[in-house]
């Protein structure tokens, strides 16, 4: 089979919809996309004069072979999981909460305020739960504003939740540059450290703030039960799957929109408490408090196909990816741009793999069809025949 003079390959690609997806296929495609991403990234690293094998080897062995690496990965996974599980609730209702980032920041603000100013001397067993509660309420409250706007006035929540992120970020900046600026910070724009009784305990030898980890895992399970076993979850799914039918069946849209946003924002708020009281121990620049978890969590939720339990895996996966970036930069001196390309390639390949799950590509050598098939049929002309 030779390539024709017209440089037309005698290969035909056809895309057809898959009607059934086996789990073997799903795993196979996921691994293949990952492999492809690694192969493509190798080129980038090689162009930068690095040995791809060395980069992968070092990164992989550090993340999964050292306790520091594993702990780092889990620490990154905690806020991702909390935010993603919350997003699952909203996304199932087709309520597009893009504001987890801001809701997370509000959780951090509320718990910082509580620990620094309201009850700094309360004992930890009282203070820490109250910080989580206040964080949940603050995140939920922040989400309530766009929720009400959507439920009552049908304002697009994508825009409002996105914009609320910037307001939240500026609010944090206002606080740390203004009224909350610490007395012991040499004028730097952050608050004082929260009192030790407000600091979350960690797993010894690591920085894993386990109370938040437990909350995150519990939230995944609770949300799973909520969605699959309760009438509220049922209403959310009906509304998300067919809002017109839900309305016709007597499900109130405003109830669903507000409730899902409250849960979504509240869980993001919990993530904020964890970051504040488990990692930073003070309110500081919003870019440090959140590193974009609220946005990355959108990817986590979708990779898990909006299944809260699967979010545990996808949060760890994204966590590993984030850590891999740090490792490459710090110990392999890979440039930041290359790391970004690496992350981008991995996500792009996985998303492309999703398409392959839904469609199959048929490749066939179809020399015969090219020659004898279409093209020589009559009726090419646009003009109708004369009458």
């Amino acid at each position: 089979m030779a390539i024709g003079l017209k440089l037309r390959l005698p290969i035909e690609f056809r895309i057809e919809k898959r009607l059934q997806v086996s789990s073997r296929l799903r795993i196979g495609i996921s691994l293949a996309s990952l492999g492809l991403a690694l192969a493509l990234s190798s080129l980038i690293f090689a162009l930068g004069g690095l040995s791809p094998l060395a980069v992968y080897g070092t990164t992989f062995s550090w993340i999964f072979g050292t306790s520091a690496g594993l702990s780092f990965l889990i620490v990154k996974g905690i806020p991702l999981l909390l935010c993603a599980v919350g997003l699952v609730v909203a996304f199932r209702a087709q309520v597009w909460n893009i504001g987890a980032e801001g809701q997370l920041l509000l959780g951090a603000v509320a718990s910082a305020g509580l620990a620094l100013f309201v009850m700094p001397s309360a004992p930890a067993p009282i203070l820490i739960p109250l910080m989580f509660i206040s964080g949940f309420l603050a995140g939920a409250g922040w989400a309530l504003i766009p929720a009400i706007l959507k439920a009552k006035l049908n304002v697009n929540e994508v825009i409002t939740t996105l914009m609320m992120n910037y307001i939240a970020s500026k609010l944090v900046e206002y606080l740390i540059y203004g009224p909350w600026r610490g007395k012991t910070t040499w004028g730097f724009p952050y608050t004082d450290l929260i009192p030790p009784n407000a600091v979350l305990p960690t797993v010894p030898g690591t920085s894993i703030h386990w109370p938040t980890l437990i909350l995150a895992l519990a939230s995944a399970i609770i949300v799973f039960m909520l969605m699959e076993r309760t009438s509220l979850g049922y209403e959310v799914k009906v509304f998300g799957g067919n809002p017109d039918l839900a309305r016709a069946a007597g499900i109130r849209p405003s109830k669903i929109i507000i409730l899902t946003m409250l849960i979504s924002g509240g869980l993001a708020g919990l993530a904020g408490v964890g970051e504040l009281a488990g990692i930073h121990k003070r309110l500081r620049n919003p870019l440090h408090i959140s590193a974009g978890y609220g946005f990355t969590a959108i990817i986590v939720a979708w990779l898990a196909r909006l299944n809260p339990i699967a979010c545990i895996l996808s949060a760890l996966f994204m966590g590993a990816l984030l850590v891999a970036g740090y490792v490459m930069r710090s110990s392999m001196s890979v440039s930041e741009a290359s790391v970004n390309i690496f992350n981008g390639l991995i996500l792009a390949c996985i998303v492309a793999g999703e398409v392959m799950l839904r469609y199959k590509v048929r490749v066939s050598l179809s020399w015969r069809g090219r020659r004898r098939g279409v093209g020589n049929g009559p009726g090419r002309a646009h003009a109708p025949r004369g009458h």
Binding site: R14, R229, S231, L245, R247, A248, R368, G377, G379, H382
Partner: protein, 516 residues
């Protein structure tokens, strides 16, 4: 218009499909199907829903590739990889769901469909051709009108014009009459006869027997993916023979209805006016009532206010003026939740939109009206085991064909989706059933079942408001018939005094007769 059979015929078939097999997971949609289309004929492709008619034609039109089999066009073997290939071979198809851009004009839509038009649409150049071709075939349509402004019948004309301007020799029409009023249907048949007379070949996909006899020269019958009769001359067959071929058994006799045992009025509509989506008055001062134990049929060409009327009753649309009472309660302007609570079942016109949640399972779809009450819900949680076992029972009671109750509802066929909707809506033993086009697009078996279910409900003592364009359905089921035209009830008849012609005249607004 030439009489049938007079068309000039050459011996070479336009289309010959041999041994076409197409498998989808779990089903063989076409099993070694042979099909032949001669120039100058209207060839009916008859079969129930799911018999494989559309699949076969989608293969000819290049939307699917066959797993096996050969296609010959004008005697030459071809491979059709895409609709573009099909069009180059002179094959065109009008789908059940039109492929038009609703915000563009007729001329723009037609220009879009032409090949190699480049960046600037030659809508102007095409305009003249449209007028010429439209006039020649009697397919009058304003080339400058935007698609959304057109009636369904006019949109269909645009689709046909698209093919004619490309000079298609083979025209495939997929169930073209489902969207048409009786008058429009006759117009379409005339056009088809004329096209055949010119030597084109027409494939007419249908599941309606009478249409085969109205328009076709030959008929090929498919059942469960196989050809059971190939190229039968219509003159040498009978409706009952075709029915038997199509469904594999004799047609059931007409439904027997006991005389109505009328009870209290369950729905009272008083001087009701409702606006449509564009803000125009769609229902103008309509009054009627439905009593328990009766079926009130509303006949009319789609778009004469029936949809707005039903939506106002259900609470999906706020009336502008007038009163609606259900079981004595004033529900004017109330939310659907409040209306449905009173014991109202709603069989929607738009099954995709209001009928099911396609991504949720059959069981989850079935419990939509019951999930809040025990034994479906116990305390905080849904009782999954009870729901599954109850759903299995309902699925078998209503004959819903599904692999299992956890399969997504969207994977069911149209007839089974409608069975699911009925099962769900009737699960609460409603007092009033509002059914919009309940058998639209369904095959014979599903249609029979759904009609007898409605009669069962009437005999149980429910009131039924039946909106349908299908006159035979209206006449077969209704105890009283109201005819709607331009938002008004122009006639209220009993089935005994009603005949198709009289109702047809009323539907077209040529006859009014309101006595109550």
């Amino acid at each position: 218009m030439g009489a049938r059979g007079e068309a000039p015929r050459s011996r070479e078939p336009l289309v010959r499909m041999i041994g076409i097999t197409k498998r989808f997971p779990g089903v063989i949609a076409n099993d070694k199907v042979d099909f032949e289309l001669m120039p100058g004929e209207v060839h009916a492709l008859l079969g129930e829903n799911g018999a494989g008619k559309t699949t076969l034609m989608n293969i000819l039109y290049g939307l699917y590739r066959p797993d096996e089999g050969q296609i010959f066009i004008d005697g030459r073997e071809v491979e059709i990889r895409s609709p573009r290939d099909a069009m180059r071979l002179g094959i065109g198809m009008v789908h059940q769901h039109f492929k038009l851009v609703s915000t563009l004009t007729v001329a723009e839509n037609i220009a879009l469909s032409l090949e190699g038009t480049g960046l600037i649409l030659p809508a102007r150049r095409v305009r003249a051709r449209i007028l010429e071709v439209a006039q020649h075939y009697g397919l009058e349509v304003d080339p400058d009108a935007r698609i959304w402004q057109l009636s369904v019948g006019e949109r269909q004309r645009v689709e046909i014009l698209k093919l004619l301007i490309r000079n298609a020799k083979v025209l495939i029409l997929d169930e073209p009459t489902t969207v048409l009023a009786p008058g429009e249907r006759e117009e379409l048949f005339k056009v088809l006869r004329k096209l055949a007379y010119e030597g084109r070949g027409i494939v007419f996909i249908t599941h309606k027997l009478e249409e085969v006899f109205r328009v076709a020269d030959r008929v090929t019958v498919l059942r469960k993916g196989r050809v059971v009769a190939s190229g039968l001359p219509v003159r040498s067959t009978t409706p009952s023979e075709l029915a038997k071929l199509m469904i594999g058994r004799e047609l059931k006799p007409r439904l027997v209805k006991k005389p109505a045992r009328l009870g209290e009025p369950v729905l009272e509509v008083e001087d009701l006016s409702v606006l449509d989506d564009k803000g125009l008055l769609a229902v103008r001062g309509v009054s009627f009532n439905v009593r328990r134990g009766e079926i009130l049929g509303i006949a009319g060409v789609a778009g004469n206010g029936q949809r707005e009327l039903v939506e106002a009753i259900i609470g999906l649309r706020k009336p502008r003026s007038g009163r609606i009472r259900i079981d004595g309660h004033d529900v004017t302007g109330k939310a659907p939740a409040d209306v449905l609570k009173l014991g109202v079942a709603y069989i929607p016109e738009d099954r995709a939109r209001y009928g099911i949640v396609p991504d949720l399972s059959v069981a989850e779809n079935l419990i939509l009206k019951l999930y809040k009450v025990p034994p479906f819900k116990r305390g905080f949680f849904l009782d999954e085991e009870y729901i599954l076992s109850w759903s299995r029972k309902v699925v078998s009671d209503f004959g819903i064909v599904t692999p299992n109750v956890r399969a997504p509802a969207g994977s069911l066929s149209g007839g089974n989706i409608q069975r699911l909707i009925l099962a769900r809506e009737l699960s609460t033993r409603p007092k009033l059933i509002v059914a919009s086009h309940p058998t639209f697009g369904l095959d014979v078996a599903a249609t029979e079942q759904i009609r007898s279910l409605l009669i069962e409900q009437r005999e149980r003592g429910a009131g039924v408001l039946l909106v349908s364009e299908d006159l035979s359905e209206i006449m077969e089921l209704s105890d009283r018939i109201a005819v709607m035209h331009e938002g008004q009830i122009v006639g209220l008849l009993s089935p005994s005094e009603a005949d198709v012609e009289k109702i047809g005249l009323m539907m077209s607004g040529k006859l009014k007769e309101v006595d109550g």
